[in-house]
Amino acid sequence: MNDPSIPGIPQLIEIARSVRIDIVQAIHHAKGGHFGGPLSAVELLVALYFRELNIDPVHPQWEDRDRFILSKGHSAIALYAVLAERGYFPVEELMTFDAIDSRMQGHPDMKQTPGVDMSSGSLGQGLSAGIGMALGARVLGKSFRTYVMIGDGESQEGQIWEAAFIASRYQLDNLVAILDYNKVQQFGWQYPEPLLPIDHPEEKFAAFGWHVIEIDGHDFNAILNAFDQAKMVKGKPTIIIAHTVKGKGVSFAEGKYQWHAKVPNDEELTLALAELVRREG
């Protein structure tokens, strides 16, 4: 960690704070978008784009780059904010989110936004596309790696399990799935008692033949260690089950399904920004 161009943990924490502020402001400005899911994924995305992925923001289409797919596409604003902070496009462009003619579409569009490697939005589809990239790397003799972030809610889709089966059957050790396990979906099961979107994902993926790593998805040390560990695994794909908090960083939204896609009003924006800035200390 002597290379000054590689951000250390304190810098990653500061970047994550900026990303959260970007997200909250963009959603408030757009008067639309999802709130809780983007905020739970921030540390994972920052760790990917500022430390893990072999990428070049100046050449987003560089063919040997590592790939990332945001399968839980409704968290697009988090990806856009991280891409902007990483230099793919100006941070100010985030304020065009969801507007007509914007490159910041409501769900990721690989043909619109520099740095987006796969379109997504209809849930459950990203892991399959990631398999295609990982198999493609094998056919092309390339060493790039593919990372796919899935949500716990979308893991109810059958296609996730079709993909889980095939990834392990093809022994894709160049594929890493990251489960943003924030444990809250749009509404989900509330009665007679609340139920998780998916329970024991670690057992399910292990049963499908995956190497499973379980971490705190807001702890940069744990995230970076998990990425390193995944590179050592041979002959099977890895899933990082990242325990996260939906709405993380904005206390009144944390863990609340009501904030899945709620837009903060002016007062809530002020409160949220005050919290995000205050934690700067």
Partner: protein
């Protein structure tokens, strides 16, 4: 007797040919290799053949990922599954980003080897015509299948290829040059225009012979590309006679008949009739009784032509 070829056999042979010529060509199969004949590619190039199991939604997503890194995947399963089982996947990760995936609808129409309505496909052309960015091709014979597949590889974008199961005569000559988006005049005529797609154009040619025996001169236009549609050729063919019969092994709602009616309604209104499935599913049976019951024979095409001619003369 003319030479006969199965479209699926030509598909398998051409896939091997394309994969041998172009290292980017791969195939994903939904466990139907011996039916769709992708087994030929497996034997020739096992490293370019990817068994995706009986899981079509994942298969189409995998193809999108492969295309995004520069491969040219051919995704092969029955038309009923391509157009319905994996439709949202095709829409989200193939059609919307315009990725270079070639998807096959094998065993299309109702002549599917006695498998019945679950495995027949009478709505696939409607589905893909309505989907932006997707080119749709339904060849008349084995010669056109081979040429269309070469054209598909040269074209950068999503293409749907609608194929049939059983051997049929070869119509196109050695000098034929398939072009995406181009219709082909197979016979000039002055009394009635017959417009077909896929193998059903062969029954239009047979109908033209039946009509000729009654002194009626039929113009036959083959429309292998449903999208982009050759509007100019369709308007010219309609103008040549002033009456149009369309024919397809597919629903008349939104397929070739629907497309021609839309074009002529806006550009050159003429009386027309549509031969095809009339808002119904099929059933299990061998080909001859199916064609008879669902009104797809050459005799049905000729009868529709005569009805239009009689109306015009009264």
């Amino acid at each position: 007797m003319a030479q006969e070829l199965s479209q699926r056999v030509v598909f398998g042979e051409t896939l091997v040919e394309l994969a041998s010529q172009d290292s980017r060509v791969v195939c994903l199969d939904g466990d139907l290799a011996t039916s769709t004949r992708t087994d030929m590619l497996f034997k020739a190039h096992p490293d370019r053949f990817f068994m995706m199991g009986i899981a079509e939604q994942n298969m189409f997503g995998v193809a999108a990922g492969m295309a995004s890194v520069g491969l040219i995947p051919f995704v092969s399963t029955f038309a009923c599954f391509t157009a319905k089982r994996a439709l949202d996947q095709i829409r989200i990760v193939i059609a919307q980003p315009g990725l270079n995936v070639k998807f096959i609808g094998a065993y299309s129409g109702i002549l599917t080897g006695k498998t019945g309505k679950t495995h027949q496909s009478v709505e696939d052309l409607t589905v893909f015509r309505a989907m932006p960015n997707v080119v749709s091709i339904a060849p008349i014979d084995g010669v056109e299948v081979r040429q269309a597949m070469h054209a598909m590889v040269e074209y950068d974008g999503p293409v749907y290829l609608r194929l049939t199961r059983d051997p049929m005569p070869v119509i196109m000559g050695d000098s034929y040059q398939f072009q995406i988006g181009k219709a082909v005049t197979l016979r000039e005529g002055k009394d009635i225009t017959l417009i077909g797609t896929g193998e059903q154009t062969q029954r239009c040619l047979d109908a033209a012979n039946l009509l000729a025996a009654d002194g009626i001169s039929a113009f036959v236009l083959h429309v292998p590309t449903l999208k982009p549609l050759d509007v100019e050729a369709i308007v010219n063919a309609a103008a040549a006679t002033g009456l149009v019969v369309t024919a397809e092994d597919h629903s008349i709602l939104g397929g070739l008949g629907g497309a021609v009616a839309e074009v002529l309604g806006e550009e050159y209104p003429v009386p027309m009739k549509r031969i095809g499935l009339r808002d119904t599913f099929g059933e299990s049976a061998s080909n001859a009784p199916l064609l008879e019951k669902y009104g797809l024979t050459a005799r049905h095409v000729a009868a529709a032509a005569k009805t239009l001619l009689e109306k015009r003369s009264t």
